[in-house]
Symmetry: C2
Subunit: 268 residues, 2 copies
């Protein structure tokens, strides 16, 4: 099992181009995981803007064509370097074709708590009382190698879908750790921000939901220990679903959040 650090290691080709090797462990049903791809793009952006602005604070990506495992190039364009933030464009290229197009804002995060918080951390049973997600899960019609590298424990109240009786509440909450034992950091939180399974599973819509666009914000440096993740949806219709993820650290502070628009196949 590879570490997150190894799976996102880049080789500097020149100031604006980095070589990546996309690791098949960080995949879902034969497709590279979206949050992992954001982390690879984020790593390249950080290398471009360090040491002043070492942390990704916001990233928005359009998913154009699913990349394959193996070699890829990340092209970075510095759009603006300000006093407190840098803004960059980044493109993941494979076989000469853009696969993911993103723009990122980078700055310097700290671990101070919020001045105001509108949401309490999600409430779920203790970590050991939640259900460890597995690579070959009941109810899933494809393998999820990501579950070898992310240790995810799902609130059993949200797992009825795995037994053919989805709650249709539209919420899935889980504990997450990196399986390599390392603590979460601003880059790996981009993986936690894009949880598997999708909330459509809880709505009775099995199967793969490809992401069209995804935006994530990293709000502060996470405390050591697991994160709690709450995934919800607002509206499903017209073959589209939005998913909103909120990620709290072990001290109960919001450390990351994301919104994505995905394609779903609705019953006829």
């Amino acid at each position: 099992m590879g570490s997150f650090r190894e799976a996102t290691t880049l080789t500097e080709l020149n100031e604006d181009e980095f070589g990546a090797v996309l690791d098949a462990e960080w995949s879902v049903g034969g497709r590279m995981h979206g949050g992992y791809l954001l982390a690879v793009l984020g790593r390249a952006a950080c290398l471009r803007t360090e040491p002043e602005h070492p942390h990704v604070t916001a990233v928005s990506a359009s998913f154009l064509e699913p990349p394959d495992e193996g070699r890829a190039v990340v092209r970075v364009r510095l759009l603006r370097r300000g006093r407190t933030v840098s803004q960059v464009g980044a493109t993941l290229v494979q076989d000469g074709r853009p696969r993911v197009e993103a723009h990122l804002t980078l700055g310097r995060l700290d671990d101070a708590g919020p001045w105001w918080a509108g949401h309490e951390p999600v409430v779920l049973p203790a970590e050991q009382d939640c259900v460890l997600a597995s690579v070959n899960a009941p109810g899933a019609d494809f393998p999820v190698p990501l579950m070898n590298v992310i240790e995810e424990r799902i609130d059993p109240a949200h797992l009825a879908f795995a037994f053919g009786a989805p709650s249709r509440g539209g919420v899935i909450a889980s504990w997450q750790r990196l399986a390599d034992g390392s603590d979460w950091d601003p880059l790996s939180l981009l993986v936690a921000c894009d949880p598997v399974p999708p909330v459509s599973a809880d709505l009775g819509l099995p199967g793969w939901v490809p992401t069209i666009q995804l935006s994530a914000y990293v709000r502060r440096l996470p405390a050591p220990g697991p994160v709690r993740v709450r995934l919800t949806a607002t509206d499903v219709g017209g073959d589209r679903m939005d998913e909103v993820a909120q990620v709290w650290d072990d001290k109960g502070r919001l450390v990351a959040q994301s919104t994505q628009l995905v394609a779903v196949r609705l019953p006829a």
Copy 2:
């Protein structure tokens, strides 16, 4: 007073470049309104992808440098043309400098209701019982010309901030119409998605909050009539605030939603 259509009219310079004239009416405190800028970029993207994919369904933008009123150029890059969606990059350029960098997904929307909805439309008093926002509002320390072109009526329960007693609930709800009398469409909904005043006003943080990144999804064609908009925040800290907007049409269906990360000045 100009119409939305006039304020977003573009001149085709070539297949990938469009001339715009940014209209000072669509501004807040001397800065062009973010949602209006998205609509200008969206109009260019639509011109590039019509007739197959006439509607913006998702847009994510990074705000690099505030554009000035007056002439600007929108550069569009077709990233991918698929069967059901097109994806494009778009940059708003002024004086040779990129001011806003965006990527957009376009497709074809319809007016069918949701298959599943996780949120009820925001409940607020009848339109005539809400408070019409004005260009020079009590509690605002700058003029908001946007209120000449958007007819916005704010729930009086959320207006205590204007009298120095913010509720700190972190919600502002309003009715919105285009003042030119035209109905909302997928492009103008991008303006409704970026409401003024910011929710920070209700948290006791007066003043301008520049947007860093903003993502908006248009979910379906809106019914004629006003929209109801609910603006909330999740977390304020580290000089950053997120804002989430949800927009429902006159039939109570979610027609648009957005998430943005903005800079705030917190009390010392």
